[in-house]
Structures are given as C-alpha cells and as structure tokens.
C-alpha cells in the first residue's frame, strides 16, 4: 500500500499540503479522500498547497482540475496555492490550462480568497 497525503480539517476548511513527490496512486487516493472528506465534514472550502511540488505533470494537473469540479458540485470551493513559477511556465508549455481551477499565490491569499467567496455566497 502506498502512503496517503493527509487531509487536515481546520474549521470549515480542508487543508492539503503536498510534501512529497507523488506517485500516481497517491494522486488518485487523494482525489477520493478529498471528495469523501468534503461530504463527511460539510467543508465549504479546500486549499491544496503545492508549494513543495517540483513538477506538476498532466496526471497531477488532471487531478487538480477534476477535484475543483467535484468539490464545486459538493458545495465547496477549491483553491490551489503556492505554485512555483517554473511549474507554471512548464504547465503552459505542456498545454494544460487547469480550467476551472482557482489559484492564489500563497496560503494566506488563498484563505482570504475563500473568505471572500463564502461571503459573496451568503
């Protein structure tokens, strides 16, 4: 069995901080875990911190896009934070648009953005 990426609950937010080079199985497990935790906790927001990720390839990119779509259907907004500049440049050249994925520069701005979104909804 492969390791799993921890999903932390902080108030109404789920926080995922990816700290290791991800195997594909871990990527798929994370997608499952996140949807399950959103339903189980009724979380309104998800933050995925990828500042430690040295690359985002098509597999991880697809997970980020799929997760954004699934969480939205489940009533939670996902913000991806901390993408490295080199990763962003590579993603564009790879041809990945990350459609529907909201991003913020860092964790702090991501939290602010989530607060603004939920205030707008209320």
């Amino acid at each position: 069995m492969t390791d799993r990426v921890p999903v932390l609950k902080i108030g109404e937010i789920l926080l995922v901080s990816i700290q290791v080079d991800l195997e594909d199985q871990m990527v798929m497990d994370l997608q499952d875990d996140l949807s399950n935790r959103i339903v189980a906790t009724g979380a309104k927001g998800v933050i995925i911190d990828i500042s430690a990720l040295e690359i985002v390839d098509s597999f991880v990119g697809r997970m980020l896009a799929t997760n954004a779509a699934i969480s939205r259907v489940l009533g939670a907004e996902t913000i991806v934070v901390g993408m490295r500049p080199a990763v962003a440049m590579t993603l564009v050249e790879l041809g990945l648009s990350l459609q529907g994925v909201r991003t913020a520069l860092n964790l702090e701005r991501g939290l602010k953005l989530l607060r603004r979104i939920s205030a707008g909804r209320a």
């Binding site: 594909d24 390839d57 098509s58 697809r62």
Partner: protein, 139 residues
C-alpha cells in the same frame, strides 16, 4: 535528432515496472539536470517531460528502461534521456503526437507536451516496442 547513444556508455538507469519507478526515473533525471548546471526552469521542463514519457512507458508499454546521461559539448551542457519499452508500439505516431489525442482516458497531452518541453525529440515505434529519445540543453 543526432545520435547520442555513445553517451549512454556511462548512463544512469532505472527499470520501470510500477508507478514508484516513474518517481525514481524522474528523480534520476532531476539529479543529472542539476549536475549539468541547468537552470531551474529548464530542469522543471525536462523532469516534467520525463514524467510524461515514463508514465506512458508504464501504462501503454507495460514498463521498460529509462537511461539518462549528461552531454557535454564545447559550448554547452545538457541531459539526454532514452525511454525504451517492449510494448505493442504506437500505430500512428503522428496521431499520437496530436494535442488532445488519447487512446485511453488521458488528456492526450503527454507526448505532444513532452516534445514541446525539450530541445530535441525522437520517437521510433514498431510491434516490438517504442523508444523515445529526448535532449534538453542547459540554457
């Protein structure tokens, strides 16, 4: 693409049989890229390309071998990587290199994207397998 096969005399090698091996293969490529003094952006592009090609080799080729070596020329330094599998091959390479074309459930970006991310790209494929060769120069 020129023949860089001679550089592989001193190559690093990773056998790819499961998805943890894909992680090892991209770590090997990253180490060589760092050693060759490649800029961070170039490293990131090369390692991302290696990740795509390593995954393809596992998913479609049933696994294989990744070999990598640094290349030094008078004015420049780079990293050469070869991905060789003994899978069923790619029937229509041109089609496979089209953005968005996938025979499975992927996004069809791996092959075409990897080609864009490196400086030299070569693919040969037949019923006995597929070999993809890439090279990225340091800057």
């Amino acid at each position: 693409m020129r023949d860089y096969g001679a550089a592989l005399a001193s190559a690093d090698t990773v056998s790819v049989a499961d998805s943890s091996d894909v992680v090892s293969a991209r770590q090997m490529v990253r180490t060589l890229a760092q050693r060759s003094g490649m800029s961070l952006v170039h490293q990131t592009k090369l390692v991302t390309a290696a990740s795509e090609l390593g995954r393809n080799m596992l998913v479609y080729g049933g696994g294989g071998v990744v070999r990598a070596a640094t290349i030094t020329e008078a004015e420049r330094c780079g990293v050469y990587v070869e991905f060789e599998d003994r899978g069923p091959g790619i029937a229509d390479i041109e089609l496979a290199l089209t953005d968005g074309w996938t025979s499975g459930s992927g996004m069809g970006l791996g092959l075409s994207g990897a080609k864009r991310l490196v400086d030299e790209f070569d693919i040969s494929s037949g019923p006995d397998g597929t070999t993809v060769r890439i090279l990225k120069w340091g800057r």
